[in-house]
């Protein structure tokens, strides 16, 4: 039992029908103030790029600021009326990350006069915010999603399998090209599969946790419930092999292991997960030539230089980070364009590292930490396991994604193609991230909103059935400790 649960249990009489906690402040004003700051910082970045390169304020500064500000304001208004208790940090963090991404892409556009990506990215950001608004407006309660768990799973599988039919782009089959647009359906699949995992584990977590053999101190999961886990592992390996997309596969598997652990509270799952991941990674790393070359490149990023072939992409990325040092060269004054291909997408962090330095990079990581942290915070406050698991999954998604791609371009782990959330060029990615933010807004709104009195006293029963039951209220009922807590 956690300290907080204990405190609640001690302080509240089970029969007390009054609200458990005093109503929280909505804090929408804080959100608005932070949003103004986020938009201003982004516009400043835009102006700084223009001043550094053309010695003049770029022409589109007002339009860009108005566009970003308008989107932020619209999102704020919708949140104010449809999710008034939502976490006030989520939206400003997302707007700032998206704004910085636009600045970096605008800055890199200056190096490629024939290929302007910033306008398209702004367009996709608008679509993303529109979808975010739509989700906040239309999704009355996130628990509705639980009913569509298997629909989500089917849709996700469909989206992941679809690119196999399309030709590979740069060695990975993850794109669908339609009418001039290229989509990465795997991005949308991530959210759908997270919804499915959360729903499946909310329903079956108890069975997974409490059955199976004990070997020493370790309780192994029963074979009957192990089936779906192995199935998920097989699907992720299949995705890896068929689409040569190490990143999505890793993300996919990581989310599943995390949710499994949170749902069951059993470290045995982590051990099994890590073991399976290690076996899978080792096998694919040696057998698949595309992945194998990535591993080689990670171990010896400068091998190409010694061989007289010049610096490879990862070496150029490391050079960019190194050139940034602690304080960076200043926006618009670095040479990260030397990375060449994918400098606006997978390698966009290198531009950030070179031009904003370790200081800017740390600030960026803090922003991601805020986004992820507020997600976990929403998970803690959920009255139902599905909400908790959904919030954990949605928070873990960007966390794992940031680690995989940032670690990749900085030489910490083998490089896998993946988009830096909100920062990287790519419509599918930015739209998906806004949907994640929309869901987190909804979930956090539920976590912080005052509950109707009827729910406070509804307690007891297995939490597999009683997923509607608030965790806090159940603890307050003074019965047996909840199976997931304090073990």
């Amino acid at each position: 039992m956690t300290a907080r649960a204990r405190a609640v249990a001690a302080g509240r009489h089970p029969a007390d029908p009054s609200p458990a906690l005093p109503p929280r402040a909505k804090q929408r004003g804080i959100e608005l103030a932070l949003l103004v700051g986020a938009v201003l910082i982004s516009v400043c970045g835009y102006v700084v790029v223009g001043l550094a390169r053309g010695h003049a304020v770029p022409g589109g500064a007002v339009r860009y600021g108005a566009g970003l500000g308008g989107l932020a304001l619209l999102a704020h208004l919708v949140v104010r009326f449809r999710a008034p208790y939502a976490d006030p940090l989520l939206l400003p963090t997302a707007v700032l990350l998206n704004g910085l991404g636009l600045v970096l892409i605008f800055r890199l556009d200056l190096e490629t006069p024939g290929d302007r990506a910033a306008p398209a990215q702004l367009m996709w950001s608008t679509v993303g915010v529109a979808l975010c608004i739509a989700v906040v407006l239309l999704l009355r309660d996130h628990r509705v999603l639980q009913r569509y768990a298997y629909v989500c799973a089917a849709l996700a599988l469909l989206l992941m399998v679809a690119p196999i039919l399309f030709p590979a782009v740069n060695g990975a089959k993850i794109w669908i090209r339609l009418a001039g647009f290229s989509l990465q359906p795997g991005e949308f699949a991530k959210v759908l599969i997270t919804v499915f995992f959360a729903a499946y584990l909310a329903a079956n977590g108890g069975a997974l946790a409490h059955t199976g053999r004990t070997v020493g101190r370790l309780r192994l999961p029963a074979g009957r419930v192990l089936g779906p886990v192995v199935a998920v592992w097989l699907v992720s390996v299949a995705v890896l092999v068929l689409e040569r997309d190490l990143g999505t596969s890793l993300l996919f598997f990581g989310i599943f292991v995390v949710l499994l652990y949170v749902a069951t509270g059993r470290t045995g799952w982590i051990a099994v997960g890590l073991l399976l991941a290690a076996v899978g990674a080792a096998a694919v790393g040696t057998l698949e030539p595309h992945v194998h070359s990535r591993v080689e490149d990670w171990q010896h990023p400068f091998a190409g230089i010694a061989a007289g072939k010049g610096a490879g992409q990862l070496a150029q990325s490391l050079f960019a980070f190194a050139a940034g040092g602690v304080f960076g060269t200043g926006l618009g004054q670095g040479h990260s364009y030397l990375i060449g291909f994918a400098m606006k997408s997978d390698f966009i962090l290198a531009t950030c590292g070179e031009e904003l330095g370790l200081a800017g990079l740390s600030a960026l990581f803090v922003l991601y930490a805020l986004l992820v942290g507020r997600g976990y915070r929403a998970a803690l406050g959920q009255p139902d396991p599905f909400g908790s698991l959904l919030a954990v999954g949605l928070a873990a998604l960007p966390a794992i994604q940031v680690f995989v791609i940032a670690g990749g371009v900085m030489g910490l782990i083998p490089l896998t193609g993946m988009a830096m959330p909100f920062l990287a060029q790519g419509g599918s990615s930015v739209v998906t991230n806004w949907i994640i933010v929309a869901l987190l807004l909804k979930v956090s709104d539920r976590a912080r909103a005052p509950r109707p009195p009827g729910q406070q006293s509804a307690g007891g029963g297995s939490w597999v059935v009683g997923f509607m039951t608030p965790v806090r209220a159940r603890d307050a009922a003074g019965g047996a400790p909840a199976p997931e807590a304090g073990r």
């Binding site: 940034g324 976990y376 966390a399 670690g407």
Partner: protein, 483 residues
């Protein structure tokens, strides 16, 4: 479940922490190593992002910068490339730098910490100082006179101001246009290959980097050794020398091109350039005395910088007596750069005091504010003033009555020594024509310039090639400027 969420959150923060630690590793700990990687183009991009500082001759820039509009933005341009190439060298984006462009590169590129008021602040703010200016000691009139005098023939001229060591002219011929090497790309590669493959070796700096057998001009050093050692006390007294002279320990007879060498005085022998007399004097002074005198004039000095390194001139320190005798007349293994022979003439003209030569007067920042003064090397007394005076008298005699008549300049006192050095297998190569000289004003006795000229292969009959015929007029043209 709450515990699981907390653990997951903690795990996520551990991942972010790992990223931060790794970022610090790459951006701070490894940064210097990555920045210095030869495959990292940032250093080159920063280097050529601003115009390179100018090299100045008599206060006027002889170099500039051309905006190429490419990634490596500014390329070096030269106002009078072939004329000043032996001074400036080249500055190429592909092939690096040479000569002054190389020696003064930190100043010209703006990276020299002396250019910045607060270097640490510049490092912090990543400010690049504009390139500084290098003021040379070259006198453009002498440089042009020497260049025109050689007129494309293979050879070199070095002129220095005897009292200060300032290099007034430094010409190598045939020359090349260093501007064709400035940029990058196939045209530059082609030019580089062409220049390196050319038979005349236009990129060889013959004044600094090429040594030639000095021939009879070395007799100045031998005469100095004979006088300093006391072997000769009166330059007008007969030296009791046979003609021909049997090289010691051998059956080889050494003859003369000139007549009246038997028993000639030192002054007569110097005027007529008698090999027999000087070979015998060299043998009598001996290896140690000859080597010591050569070293005092600057031979065998590997450390001379002007500031570009100068090829060491050579006088063997292990020889048998016959070889010493031959070395004393500037043959055998004796070899000298034109700059070295100009130093010999300068020391004689300056009363026996030798000031090591240098090429940079001062270094200023882009606005002309002085950053560093010239080197002002220490003057050394290499021979007695009395010996120097006797040598002056003999050199004046050569120009007044001997083989150096064509070097005479009206209104100036000129002393000189011709030389014709044989080389090649069995001495079959076209001989090198040498002339070294100095000039001083008649009223103040101030030596104004010391010159050394070498012409490699004057397109003429072998008998006709002599220092007096080909090299002396060039020296005359240079000295006439000083009038």
């Amino acid at each position: 479940m709450i515990r699981g969420i907390r653990h997951t959150a903690a795990f996520s923060f551990l991942l972010l922490l790992a990223l931060l630690v790794n970022a610090a590793r790459v951006q701070v700990y490894e940064a210097e190593r990555y920045d210095a990687s030869p495959a990292n183009r940032r250093a080159a991009i920063a280097r050529y992002a601003q115009p390179r500082g100018a090299v100045l001759v008599a206060g006027r820039p002889v170099t500039g910068s051309r905006d190429s509009g490419g990634r490596l933005r500014y390329e070096r341009a030269y106002a009078d490339g072939p004329l000043y190439a032996p001074v400036t060298g080249y500055s190429s984006q592909t092939y690096g730098t040479s000569l002054l462009e190389h020696a003064e590169d930190p100043v010209l590129a703006g990276t020299d910490p002396r250019l910045a008021t607060f270097p640490w602040w510049d490092r912090l703010t990543r400010t690049h100082q504009p390139g500084g200016q290098v003021h040379t000691t070259i006198d453009p009139r002498m440089q042009r006179a020497a260049f025109a005098g050689l007129d494309g023939r293979k050879g070199a001229v070095a002129a220095i101001e005897p009292r200060t060591g300032r290099i007034l002219a430094l010409v190598s011929s045939p020359s090349y246009e260093p501007g064709v090497l400035s940029g990058n790309g196939p045209a530059v590669d082609d030019a580089w290959r062409r220049l390196n493959a050319a038979a005349e070796r236009p990129m060889l700096n013959r004044a600094l980097a090429q040594t030639y057998p000095p021939g009879s001009t070395f007799k100045v050093v031998t005469a100095a050794a004979a006088l300093e050692s006391g072997r000769v006390t009166d330059i007008d007294a007969p030296t009791d020398s046979p003609d021909p002279y049997l090289l010691p320990g051998t059956a080889t007879r050494l003859g003369n091109a000139a007549k009246d060498c038997a028993d000639a005085s030192l002054k007569e022998a110097f005027r007529a350039s008698c090999n027999t007399v000087f070979a015998r004097l060299g043998d009598e002074v001996g290896l140690r005395g000859m080597a010591a005198m050569a070293r005092r004039f600057g031979f065998n000095d590997r450390r001379l910088r002007v500031p570009s390194p100068v090829a060491p001139s050579h006088f063997d320190t292990r020889m048998d007596p016959a070889q010493v005798a031959l070395s004393a007349i500037g043959q055998y293994d004796t070899a000298a750069t034109p700059l070295q022979m100009a130093m010999v003439a300068a020391a004689v003209a300056n009363g026996g005091q030798l000031t090591p030569p240098y090429l940079v007067d001062q270094v200023t920042d882009a606005d002309g504010v002085m950053v560093a003064d010239g080197p002002h090397p220490t003057t050394r007394q290499v021979i007695n003033p009395a010996t120097a005076e006797q040598l002056q008298e003999m050199m004046i005699d050569v120009v007044a009555h001997g083989s150096g008549r064509r070097a005479a300049v009206k209104g100036l006192t000129v002393g000189g020594k011709t030389g014709t050095a044989q080389h090649g297998v069995h001495n079959e190569g076209t001989p090198y024509a040498w002339f070294i000289s100095w000039a001083r004003t008649n009223d103040t006795y101030e030596p104004t310039v010391a010159v050394a000229v070498v012409v490699e292969d004057a397109a003429a009959e072998r008998a006709d090639i002599s220092g007096g015929g080909h090299a002396a007029p060039i020296a005359r043209a240079v000295m006439a400027v000083a009038r």
